[in-house]
């Protein structure tokens, strides 16, 4: 297996063939914000929060899907990147109906954490206040599309790990929505196994346990990596980091 040597933020790192910039950064504790990325699931490159600069190109590249090449020079934390990351979170905030104060994941939300991380003290774009639906027909879980950021973690975990493929995206552009089966109430879905993986991996309060009150819902998405490792490598190991 060939080894690639490249530079992140002025330091030299080596990567195995097939590694992404994000994986190398994570292995070396270089912080790059992510939202749609989840270890154990396929990469999707939807949210664009992990964008990095690569010397010699005017474009920005998502670190989760971009593989390093020999002698590549990557920058992860420039003013330009900070500006774009902040703008992405602003657009997410303005496109949904995110009311942190009364949300079930208030204080445990990846979108909220990101807002703090990018120092989102206000939103420059007009809020769209879209009319989105809430589906509470499932006996154990609820989907509130007001809080969905279309990261597709639920779609991927259901397809790739649970293999039930309940969730899909319907519509186009700004009207995209997560739907169950053939766009039917979740509670009537014949394919849903009620495993709850989609709820655990959802980064916001879009998917949550029925009966959860404000700030009460805490997600735990690290188990996906554990399941995938166990299935693919027959390794039932949790690292100390995951135990935390």
């Amino acid at each position: 297996m060939s080894v690639i040597t490249f530079t992140i933020d002025g330091e030299q790192y080596s990567a195995k063939e097939g590694d992404t910039i994000l994986q190398v950064a994570r292995d070396n504790k270089i912080p790059i914000p992510t939202l749609c990325y989840l270890e154990g699931l396929s990469t999707f490159g939807a949210c664009r929060l992990c964008v990095v600069e690569i010397e010699g190109s005017p474009k920005l590249f998502p670190a989760c899907t971009t593989k390093p090449t020999e002698s590549m020079v990557v920058r992860t934390s420039t003013d330009k990147l900070k500006k774009y990351r902040r703008m992405i979170v602003e657009l997410l905030a303005s496109e949904g109906n995110h009311q942190c104060a009364v949300c079930v994941v208030n204080g445990h939300c990846e979108l909220q954490d990101l807002a703090y991380e990018v120092e989102l003290d206000h939103v420059r774009f007009p809020y769209l206040f879209p009319k989105k639906s809430l589906d509470a027909t499932h006996k154990d879980f609820v989907i509130d599309r007001n809080r969905c950021v279309l990261c597709t973690r639920c779609v991927r975990v259901c397809h790739e790990v649970e293999a039930a493929h309940v969730w899909d995206i319907a519509g186009r552009g700004i009207d995209c929505e997560i739907i169950a089966d053939l766009n039917q109430p979740w509670g009537t879905s014949p394919s849903c196994t009620s495993c709850g993986k989609c709820v655990r991996v959802c980064p916001t309060g879009a998917l949550f346990d029925k009966g959860a009150a404000v700030g009460e819902m805490q997600k735990e998405s690290g188990f996906i990596k554990f399941i995938v490792n166990a299935r693919n490598k027959h390794e039932w190991v949790r690292t100390a980091h995951e135990e935390e």
Binding site: V104, A212, V214
Partner: protein, 490 residues
């Protein structure tokens, strides 16, 4: 159109109107207009609340379990009251009896809410009038002026409020807008060390309430001539009492008495409130006008809150507060009901005393440390009603849900709204007594007294209209043709 309360809109009366806007040191935003007739006598006064929030509408489509968290955001002063009432409506829909510990903890939270809100009303908002004088300079007639005048007294008052807030913080993790109470019970049990931490406050709190009562009794003497004009009239009085008629704050049954101590209705299940109370709407205010249905609108005017509660109960279960209740009752003359709205302040202080004593009793009850605190259930009823006594009076949350627990309809009947007719009447009485319409002027003294009259009710307009914003005072004196003769803003 109602005689007395409203001037006739379409009739050409050559009269004048005075407006006080905005009203200061109350929670919310309001304006007062005072109507004069041809002879320049006051014929009417209106307390306008000109803000709107819409909680009943935008909670449609949300989940039952979110409702305590959402509705507690109605108000920053008494969020715990909305929280507990909403959770009780949730209990009703889940059709559960909550664990004993959960009920006691909710009771503790409700009393802490009473204590901090009453302390705020008495020490921060009303004491500047009492101790510095109604006619002292408005620039310093506030809590800062009070600190300059009597630092120790003010400090004690601020600390009393802190005690209430600290209980809320210990129980719910934060002072304002804790989401700790949920349908079925509460979220976290109380730890022994934290229980003990609360108990250390009791002696100081009891002493501070004693100081407040002493100060208030001096005020009663000092303003003996003016007090009879501070909203002194007979209305119905409505509130919860315990099953055996004691002062109640969390549960119990509704009792309605009139201003002559006749019991009009008793042992009404709060769940049947809508059979007894209606809500009228007037085009000039966002604050609704609740009334007692059998007496019709607006004769069904009633008052809620401390004055009503201390009047209608047969006894108070804690000894010091019960002794004060008897003194309070002696102010009533020959009817055995204290009808003067000024004595809201006294009733509020008695309730603070009760809260401190009862908090101590609850904390010393071993059941308060229980670990079984939450009943789990799914939707078992499609309609639920929660009722508690908020600091300003009886509060109802009424929800309709679908089988999945999604809110279809919400009705919130707020304490301050229930005092709306009485507040209008109070303003009219004070204006009639103090305003000389011939001068066509609003003097500082009039402004102060009209404000103080409203402040007796400690109105929380943020809650009651579900309104946003600060509460400045705006008074207008208007002629019949709508001409503004005088206008004061503060």
């Amino acid at each position: 159109m109602v005689e007395g309360l409203y001037y006739k809109r379409n009739e050409k009366i050559m009269s004048k109107m005075i407006t006080i806007s905005p009203v200061t040191r109350i929670e919310g935003h309001a304006k007062i207009t005072i109507q004069l007739d041809d002879n320049n006598d006051v014929i009417d006064a209106r307390f306008h609340v000109n803000e709107f929030r819409g909680f009943e509408k935008f909670t449609e489509g949300r989940l039952l379990w979110e409702m305590p968290g959402i509705t507690s955001r109605i108000c920053g002063i008494c969020p715990a009251s909305h929280l507990v009432t909403s959770a009780k409506a949730g209990d009703d829909i889940l059709a559960v009896e909550i664990p004993e510990t959960a009920e006691k903890l909710r009771r503790l939270l409700t009393l802490a809410q009473w204590l901090q809100s009453h302390a705020l009303s008495f020490f921060h908002l009303s004491s500047p009038d009492f101790l510095l004088g109604f006619d002292s300079d408005p620039a310093t007639r506030n809590v800062f002026g009070l600190i300059a005048a009597d630092k120790e007294f003010t400090k004690r008052g601020i600390r009393l409020r802190k005690f209430g807030q600290e209980i809320i913080e210990i129980l719910g993790g934060r002072r304002i807008h804790t989401p700790w109470t949920v349908p079925g019970g509460v979220r976290e049990p109380l730890e022994l060390a934290k229980r003990d931490q609360m108990l250390t406050w009791i002696p100081e709190a009891r002493e501070t309430v004693g100081l407040a009562l002493d100060a208030l009794k001096k005020i009663h003497k000092k303003y003996a001539k003016e007090i009879p004009e501070f909203g002194n009239f007979r209305t119905l009085l409505v509130g919860l009492v315990s099953k055996d008629g004691g002062l109640e704050y969390y549960d119990g049954l509704l009792r309605i008495k009139d201003g002559n101590d006749n019991t009009i209705a008793d042992k009404i299940e709060p769940k049947k409130y809508f059979e007894h109370f209606g809500e009228a709407v007037e085009p000039w205010s966002y604050l609704k006008f609740p009334y007692y249905k059998p007496f019709d609108y607006p004769k069904g005017m009633y008052r809620v809150g401390p004055l009503a509660r201390v009047n209608i109960c047969d006894y108070i279960e804690t000894p010091l507060a019960e002794a004060e209740r008897k003194i309070f009752k002696s102010l009533s003359g020959n009817v055995n009901v204290v009808n003067n709205s000024f004595y809201y302040h006294y009733a509020r202080c008695i309730e603070m005393l009760f809260a401190v004593e009862k908090i101590e009793m609850l904390l010393k009850d071993p059941a308060i440390l229980g670990l079984t605190i939450r009943a789990q259930a799914s939707i078992n009823r499609l309609e639920g009603i929660g009722c508690t006594e908020a600091p300003r009076g009886v509060l109802f949350h009424h929800y309709h849900v679908n089988k999945d627990g999604v809110i279809q309809k919400a009705n919130l009947l707020i304490a301050t709204a229930q005092n709306n007719l009485a507040m209008n009447r109070t303003v009219r009485q004070i204006a009639s007594y103090f305003i000389d319409g011939k001068k066509g002027k609003i003097t500082e003294g009039i402004l102060n007294r009209v404000e103080a009259g409203i402040r007796c009710y400690d109105p929380c307009l943020s809650c009651s209209t579900h309104a946003l914003g600060q509460m400045p005072l705006h008074v207008e004196l208007l002629s019949a043709g709508g001409e503004v003769l005088d206008e004061v803003r503060r």
